[in-house]
């Protein structure tokens, strides 16, 4: 039992450090890519506001409005699984 608890502490330490490290990596990779793309591969009029949706995406307020509409229309039983632009 004591051995298992020791293993639990190791797992907690190693697990959380690894998860934080990988997500730190996500942040670093993301920031580096954004910097690199902004500098060398930037395109005019693409996501210039940073908040505007690109093709295939919707603004969060619109998504929230659609979700709220569906909830109301179905009495809270319906869920929005996918929203497609046509």
């Amino acid at each position: 039992m004591t051995e298992s608890f020791d293993q639990a502490w190791v797992l907690l330490g190693v697990g959380m450090v690894t998860v934080f490290s990988v997500l730190l990596l996500v942040v670093i990779i993301g920031n580096t890519l954004i910097f690199f793309v902004n500098r060398f591969l930037s395109k005019e009029a693409t996501d210039s506001s940073g908040d505007k949706p690109s093709v295939g995406e919707l603004h969060s307020a619109k998504v929230a409005a659609i979700v709220a509409g569906v909830k109301k229309a179905t009495g809270g039983r319906g869920n929005v699984i996918e929203i497609r632009k046509k």
Partner: protein, 403 residues
């Protein structure tokens, strides 16, 4: 009379009467079917699982999954799939070829990747850290599970329920404690269906009214981001490739899940050139995988396996893992707010566990309840998506240390 007796012997009624546990299992299957069909709780999974339980527990149907010892041959060898099918039936063929090999969960992850948009996370990268904090339940509940008498491998499988990710929970359990696959899959999907109940339950206990009202859009206006993304499409295409390689080097055991997730995302982001692949991954492939996964997981739940003290431990422990993960995310944001100028709504931390996108939707509605202009969806999606990556990495750690 003799004819009637022979007719009775031919049916399964006699065996059902002799083993009352079978009736209880059929009832459990019926409850899951009810939850899936009538209450619409995760119907895509609970309906196949519920029906799989019913099929597996009807005596004489040979639709129950047999323990791996029964397909083992002398000299650490196993029966081939043809032998398994002819000896134990088609459900064992499905289980041992698609589930036991760990094939289906990564396939489903590919579909999840093709449905995932990394955009909200890339626009709010610092929020990704809260996807890590919300994995604390996975490792935290390990201690309690050990104290309850679970083996380390079983405790690891139980803990992964806290990641709120069905395919990850199933994949980890297949590799660590396959005999607990049924109860763990049921607990994982049931608690995911209960996200609209569990997130508010934990958030209301840990957050003040002022914290619920922290408006992220206003914070963005007060403290604007340092830079804007000028070409999000290119970033989204390169991101899964670079991240996949980096994670494969750091945590190789998470690659089957994370690699397929990122591949699915890549074929989605490339656009029209690979849209047929993306459509296949999110449609026919994912749906077929879900059917076989659900039925086979249900078929593992025979009375002998399910009606056990450990099942109760899994149900209680799974809830604790879930609640601790949500609390971990909320507390991490609260801690961050103590030192940061730009405040973050702690609901963003609560969505650090996976359950995409339901957790984000629930957090968004909670935020709107306290301030009708407080739309948190895109911020919650940032930590929510990073939570998917976090739980897959946590699974990789569990597998590499305990496996």
């Amino acid at each position: 009379m003799e004819i009637l007796r022979q007719l009775y012997d031919m049916t399964a009624m006699g065996e059902i009467g002799e083993t009352p546990g079978v009736l209880l299992m059929i009832l459990i299957g019926a409850v899951l079917l009810y939850l899936g069909i009538v209450k619409k709780y995760e119907p895509l999974l609970l309906v196949p699982i519920g029906f799989g339980i019913v099929l597996a527990n009807l005596p004489g149907g040979s639709m129950d999954v047999v323990p791996s010892e029964m397909v083992e041959l002398p000299g650490h060898r196993y029966m081939n799939l043809f032998e398994i099918a002819s000896e134990y039936g088609i459900m064992n063929f499905v289980y041992y070829s698609l589930i036991k090999t760990g094939f289906l969960p990564p396939i489903i992850f590919m579909g999840v990747g093709a449905l995932t948009d990394f955009g909200p996370m890339l626009r709010n990268l610092r929020l990704a850290f809260f996807g890590a904090a919300a994995q604390i339940g996975i490792f935290g509940v390990f201690f309690g599970a050990i104290a309850l008498g679970f083996s380390p491998k079983e405790a690891g499988s139980l803990g992964i329920i806290g990641g709120a990710d069905g395919p990850t929970a199933i994949y980890t359990t297949i590799l660590l404690a396959p005999h607990l696959l049924g109860p763990i899959a049921i607990a994982a999907y049931s608690y995911m269906a209960l996200v609209p109940v569990i997130v508010p339950l934990v958030a209301n206990r840990l957050m003040t009214k002022n914290e619920f009202r922290i408006n992220m859009k206003k914070q963005d206006k007060l403290y604007p981001p340092k830079y804007k993304i000028k070409n999000i499409k290119t970033v989204k295409i390169i991101f899964p490739i670079v991240l996949g390689v980096a994670v494969a080097i750091l945590v190789p055991s998470s690659v089957p899940l994370l690699g397929m997730l990122l591949f699915g995302n890549l074929i989605k982001e490339i656009g029209t050139a690979t849209s047929r692949l993306s459509d296949a991954a999110t449609g026919p492939i994912m749906n077929t995988a879900t059917i076989f996964l659900g039925l086979a997981v249900g078929a593992t739940m025979t009375a002998k396996v399910f009606l056990d003290f450990k099942t109760l431990g899994i149900i209680v422990g799974g809830f604790l893992a879930f609640a601790i993960s949500i609390a971990g995310g909320i507390l991490a944001v609260k801690g961050y707010n103590l030192i940061a100028k730009k405040k973050i709504n702690p609901l963003v931390g609560a969505t650090g566990l996976s359950a995409v996108p339901m957790a984000s939707r629930v957090a968004n509605e909670l935020g709107l309840k306290h301030d009708s202009s407080n739309h948190l969806l895109q911020y919650c999606m940032a930590s929510n998506i990073s939570g998917v990556i976090g739980s897959a990495v946590a699974a990789g750690v569990l597998i590499s240390i305990l496996g």
